[in-house]
Symmetry: C2
Subunit: 220 residues, 2 copies
DNA sequence: ACGGATCCATACCTGGATCCTG
DNA sequence: CAGGATCCAGGTATGGATCCGT
């Protein structure tokens, strides 16, 4: 079953509101897709069903989830205490090209320019019984953008000068760099010392959970 | 079920001889894989089972089927009169790079430097009952190579100067250029007129059936 | 008859994220 | 408890070729 793209932000907000309180099991049933029984096997399923329910353009590469609106969709898993249980993946890192990027036109900034955050219950609630919360349409405040920019410039700078291999997830106040791969044997190219190129585990940018928590708590 | 790579050309020839007279159905059964019932759905199945039976390194990109030996495997479908029913795919065409290739190191020449031709019955024999014939290990004679070279230089030259779009399968005495894609809407990049780049249907090099017929008829 | 169109398998890549052990 | 490791879906790319309408 397919849903047409929303024609404006208002229509998107209405659809997102309609999702609040519904469970992942109901949604899967309505869309006619089976849910994995093992939650390890369904890491991305909430996000993917949410895309379909809201009429996002699925899986296409360079464009935002709602291309016409320039809005990106992110589901956030909430622990029983209401706080995000996980960090949020932002985008993968093309390490060999990152020296050509600048913050204003960077992939991270474009991804985060306008986001629809959709909270959903996380473990220990079983997959099918996890309920969606009230969505929030967000754009970074000047203070938030400043935090993101300064972290990004530090991290991207280290990658560009060939230090991605030494980079750990400890770096960055709100943005961090972590592995992004099917398994630890996957290789991608990255700058090495002295203009060399070497193969490393692919990485991605992630938002720390404490940062998304502040976004969700701010009064809309 | 997996078969170890042959250690020398002699071992490969022995295995290929052992295949002669056996049917595709027997082979599929021995390897524990099902055959499609509709022959449209099994266009590549004879070649793939043959690879497995002979211990070819399956599906890996740049290397010959028998990497250590530098030998490429090709199955040839024979009509009831013993003549090849189809042309033989050689390799896909990277149109934007072809201006940097020269015949001696070209993909076509490398693919055809050393080929194990394995004949197999074609339609109207049902898939499972098609029998393999006697394989032939071949290297191009000087005359054959000269034919290939001159066709390749004509075709590659036309592609390099931006004429792939106008190129039809009529060109070339033994080598030709034809579409190579899942369907007609697939696009790939190619040089256009005046240093431009345009999108076209991807193409590949193929050997005309009359050429493979002469190869198979020549006394080993 | 054959030139243009198409079909399957497999590997890889990207985007969706959560798992899990020290 | 969070940093490093991993899992699924879907699309793309390539190599195995044959199908089929004019």
């Amino acid at each position: 079953m397919r849903v047409a793209p929303p024609r404006c932000a208002g229509e998107l907000a209405l659809r997102a509101d309609a999702l609040a309180g519904r469970s992942l099991g109901e949604l899967a049933c309505a869309l006619g897709v089976p849910l994995p029984t093992d939650s390890r096997r369904g890491k991305g399923v909430a996000g993917q069903l949410c895309e379909r329910a809201l009429g996002a353009s699925a899986g296409s590469h360079p464009v935002p989830d709602f291309a016409g609106l320039g809005v990106e969709l992110k589901t956030v898993p909430l622990a029983p205490d209401g706080k995000p249980r996980e960090s949020t993946f932002v985008c993968s890192i093309a390490a060999l090209e990152i020296d050509k990027e600048e913050w204003p036109s960077s992939r991270v900034r474009r991804k985060l320019a306008h986001v629809l955050w959709v909270p959903i219950e996380a473990a220990p609630v079983p997959l099918a019984r996890r309920r969606f919360g009230r969505a929030r349409l967000w754009q970074p405040s000047p203070a938030e953008e400043e935090l993101l920019r300064s972290d990004w410039e530090e991290l991207a700078g280290l990658i560009a000068i060939g230090r991605m291999g030494e980079l750990t997830a400890h770096r960055g106040r709100v943005l961090q760099v972590r592995p992004k791969a099917a398994h630890a044997r996957v290789r991608a190219f990255a700058p090495g010392p002295d203009e060399t190129t070497l193969e490393t585990l692919p990485r991605g940018f992630y938002l720390r959970a404490a940062f998304t928590q502040r976004i969700l708590e701010a009064r809309p």
